[in-house]
């Protein structure tokens, strides 16, 4: 079948619903265009992920010469083939579960994602990735703007953030985001309990219904209380979820379990947000020892994502799910005197899920220190971007969420060939 994805979407799904022999990715797409809930999980690897330690160019001599203590030996990386430029690449040795998913064709790695004049500031960089606007990163978030394009009424749990603060990317002109760092603590307490608790909850609901127009701050908090109270019971149901696999007993694992629980319990959530930190490895980055800083990051990532993947697969929900990871920047190529790496530029994005077209997207940088090396920037210090991060967002918005990336991103960032989903 030579039909392209674009014409497929343009023509709609109806023509295919009677076809039995539909390739798997098409049936996934068909499901999503029906009433089935398709969702996006955004994973924030905060601190600036060292893409060169996650996806290792293990045949590049400059990788080893510039990283005398941090270079991961070629014999230990998990080879996953070569990219379109012919460069062999391997995953970090602790990403065995992700390699399995890659082999199943459900993990895409997009190399060298970033933007022009990449910010080396965590905060500025995070704001840019959040707003999808390098020129002015103070407005609403790209996910928040997508949520604003959905047709009301929206489920109160349409956006589920597993961290304590609402991430900038989810800040929306019109849609409230539920932040649920702990499902069990997401509850309404009462000093007395019993029937008095019921009266208090009713009173709190009534109090929150006052949204004074002359006090915008109070109105904002009142709206937050309303959202909190409106989502309590559904979240409590998610707390009853019994996963089909054991999730790691750490914050990241537990957040992923809550996400799977929300999907299974049918909360109607379109976007989940999950974060795991510690990627700001300026010192003692240690990419190889069992208790090394970067090794632990990879174990956390691998074990959490593998558990989520297998759980959703067992639950029959994999084809509804797309996980997209990002980090505010990559790291400098040459290691520093603290056996760490400083703030750099472009890095790797991951996309995982039942609808993902797995593989290696984009091409690896040549790490030669030649200042004229076009794949690097900053006098050969940092990896230069090849794919604008907004092109990855655009693909997800257009092809996965069924939105309009031009409207959400404020421009056309569609890039041909970037067909990871």
């Amino acid at each position: 079948m030579s039909i392209t994805r674009r014409t497929f979407i343009k023509n709609g799904v109806a023509a295919f619903t009677v076809t039995l022999a539909v390739p798997r990715f098409l049936s996934d797409l068909a499901r999503a265009q029906g009433a089935v809930s398709r969702n996006l999980i955004v994973l924030d690897l905060s601190g600036g992920n060292d893409g060169l330690s996650m996806l290792v160019p293990y045949t590049d001599p400059f990788y080893y010469s510039r990283r005398p203590t941090l270079g991961i030996p070629a014999g230990t990386v998990l080879p996953i083939g070569s990219d379109s430029s012919g460069k062999p690449l391997g995953l970090h040795p602790k990403l065995a579960g992700l390699k399995d998913i890659f082999n199943q064709g459900r993990l895409a790695l997009i190399q060298r994602v970033g933007y022009e004049n990449s910010s080396r500031s965590h905060f500025f960089g995070t704001d840019i990735w959040s707003t999808a606007n390098p020129a002015n990163s103070t407005g609403s978030g790209w996910v928040g703007r997508y949520l604003s394009t959905l047709t009301p009424p929206l489920d109160p749990l349409v956006a589920w953030n597993t961290t304590g603060d609402t991430p900038h990317a989810l800040q929306s002109p019109s849609v409230a985001v539920a932040s649920i760092p702990s499902v069990s603590r997401y509850a309404f307490a009462s000093p007395t309990g019993g029937s008095e608790a019921t009266l208090e909850r009713a009173a709190a609901t009534s109090i929150a219904s006052h949204v004074p127009v002359d006090k915008p701050q109070v109105a904002f908090v009142s709206t937050t209380v309303q959202s909190a109270l409106a989502t309590l019971d559904q979240v409590a149901a998610v707390g009853q979820y019994k996963p089909s696999v054991a999730y790691p007993n750490n914050g990241f694992g537990q957040a992923l379990q809550a996400i799977a629980g929300a999907m299974v319990k049918g909360t109607g959530t379109k976007v989940f947000w999950v974060q795991t930190g510690g990627f700001d490895t300026h010192a003692s980055q240690d990419t190889t020892a069992d208790n090394g800083a970067y090794v632990k990051l990879m174990v956390t990532l691998n074990d959490g994502l593998t558990a989520l993947y297998n759980d959703l697969k067992n639950q029959g929900l994999l084809s509804d799910t797309l996980l997209l990871s990002f980090s505010e920047f990559g790291r400098r190529i040459t290691e520093n005197g603290s056996r760490g790496t400083d703030h750099g530029a472009a890095s790797v994005m991951l996309a995982m899920g039942g609808g993902v077209r797995g593989g290696l997207f984009g091409t690896a940088a040549n790490l030669s220190t030649d200042p004229q090396n076009p794949t690097l920037e900053n006098s050969g210090g940092d990896v230069h971007y090849e794919t604008d991060f907004r092109s990855a967002y655009a693909k997800v918005i257009d092809n996965w969420l069924g939105g309009d990336s031009v409207a959400v991103l404020g421009g056309n960032f569609r890039k041909s060939g970037l067909d990871f989903v």
Partner: protein, 485 residues
């Protein structure tokens, strides 16, 4: 213009942590100007708050074993919260919190290097109680709370916790470490947009050799001394050129100088940064947003005026705050109860207004994490994200649930205090809404009365006072109006 009592209450919410029963007595007879003077010139008031810890009549603490605020992180947090509730120098504690957010340093990274006990010492040890007189970073902020920023920047540069936090400890000639130099310009002085990548490289080289020394064989021993050290052989001695002036004559280059006097590089850079007009404006704006309003953009002329006070007083903070508190902008009644309360501000004010006897600072620690503010553990070097960002649904529920826990804990005291207001549900609501300095609008008031009347006939019994008193306090603490200072 607000009356004097309301204005002083506003001052105490912003420049302190609210109005406790003790403050009502102290400030009752002061004019506004005298109240400002008392807050600013606190050196005249003994710093005796720590001696009250563990005494009856004060907020309690909870610890495993002996209370050890110099070596146990949760005990250090409790000591600080105790100070916020009971200090007679509330502005000192408020500015210490401000600096903790400004120079946001995280305990966990420090603990990863020196272990939990020594990380607590480096973050919060009180030198007079430490075996080798180690001074923690929070105590540094207390000492310099209203001092001059240039000196504080120098102290922060050589502060052991900061040397670990931003990796100055590993900044060497062969491989300069950029972390501290970048944040010094981005977060501690001029701000994003006012430095270049080449400035970052130059700043890293400025501080090469400014490291930390301690007995590495005894790194976890709580008698180990940690101190900054200058290693001349690790200092990069060549000239460092910046994109902005370093010297009064406009010179942008710190000259090459002998390694033996290499620390002068850092002094020159910090002195220049502290005295730059952009730094003055940035600090003035931060203080404006902290004390006056985070939603109303300041008049640029007002920021320039505060920045000028800062520059004319050798980067001293106290005169800036004097000018700020006496300004019409600060005293504008329309800004009362409009600044989003930080979690610790919310918790401390609730304790001061509801009551503390029989309550423990330890009971605030887990709720504060859920509200998004664990002291000594800011999310990153930029500090906490302020304003609306405190108010996710989960964090708001944590506030409401803390209100429930505090009200439940204090229900007998609430009922006793409200004994004279048992005549009707309205009387009880009136009493409690005046005891808690909340901004309660008529609709909320009606809801509170309706709640007080619900569930049975009003008898005014002790049981009813306890149940409804605690319920009303819970509802007020959990209301939107109470989340503002």
């Amino acid at each position: 213009m607000a009356d004097s009592a309301n204005l002083i209450a506003h001052l105490l919410r912003r420049a302190g942590f609210g109005v406790g029963s003790d403050e009502m007595v102290v400030f009752a007879d002061l004019s506004y100007a005298q109240a400002v003077d008392r807050l600013l010139n606190y050196d005249a008031i003994p710093d005796s708050v720590d001696s009250k810890i563990g005494q009856p009549g004060f907020l309690g603490t909870t610890s495993r074993g002996a209370f050890s605020p110099n070596t146990v992180p949760d005990d250090a947090r409790q000591r600080w919260l105790f100070r916020m509730v009971h200090s007679q120098r509330p502005l000192q504690e408020k500015m210490t919190l401000f600096w903790h957010n400004y120079f946001a340093t995280g305990y966990s990274k420090v603990a990863g290097v020196v272990g939990p006990a020594n990380a607590t010492r480096l973050m919060a040890a009180k030198a007079s109680d430490d075996p080798v007189k180690q001074r923690g970073q929070i105590e540094l902020f207390r000492d310099y709370a209203l001092g001059n920023l240039r000196d504080l920047l120098i102290q922060v540069t050589i502060d052991p916790a900061m040397l670990i936090w931003l990796d100055g400890d590993t900044n060497t000639k062969a491989q300069p470490q950029e972390n501290f130099g970048r944040e010094l310009m981005e977060l501690f002085s001029r701000g994003v947009g006012y430095y270049t990548e080449s400035d970052v490289y130059a700043a890293a080289r400025v501080f090469t050799g400014v490291n930390l020394t301690y007995n590495s064989n005894d790194v976890k021993n709580p008698n180990t001394s940690f101190t900054w050290i200058y290693r001349p052989n690790q200092h990069e001695t060549s000239a460092k050129t910046f994109s902005f002036p370093i010297y009064a004559g406009g010179g942008k280059t710190i000259p090459a100088r002998s390694a033996s006097v290499g620390t002068q590089d850092g002094v020159d850079l910090i002195t220049a940064l502290a005295n730059h007009p952009e730094t003055a404006r940035r600090v003035a704006a931060k203080l404006y947003h902290f004390f006056v309003s985070e939603t109303i953009a300041p008049d640029p002329a007002f920021i320039d005026q505060l920045g000028l006070v800062y520059l004319q007083n050798g980067t001293a903070i106290k005169p800036v705050l004097q000018a700020l508190f006496m300004s019409p902008q600060f005293q504008d009644e329309s800004t009362f109860f409009t600044r989003y309360a930080w979690p610790v501000e919310y918790v401390v004010r609730a304790i001061k207004e509801v009551g503390w006897t029989g309550f423990s600072a330890g009971s605030t620690l887990s709720p504060l994490i859920s509200m998004g503010q664990e002291l000594l553990e800011p999310p990153n070097v930029a500090g906490w994200v302020l304003g609306q960002s405190w108010f996710s649904t989960g964090a708001m529920l944590a506030r409401m649930n803390f209100g429930s826990a505090l009200a439940g804990n204090q229900q007998f005291r609430i009922a006793t205090a409200a004994a004279g207001a048992r005549s009707s549900p309205q009387a009880l609501v009136d009493f409690l809404t005046s005891r808690l300095t909340a901004d309660v609008d008529p609709g909320v008031y009606a809801d509170l009365v309706s709640y007080a009347s619900a569930g049975g006939v009003w008898t005014g019994s002790d049981t009813q006072l306890r149940t409804k008193g605690a319920g009303i306090v819970h509802l007020i603490l959990g209301s939107a109006g109470y989340q503002f200072v």
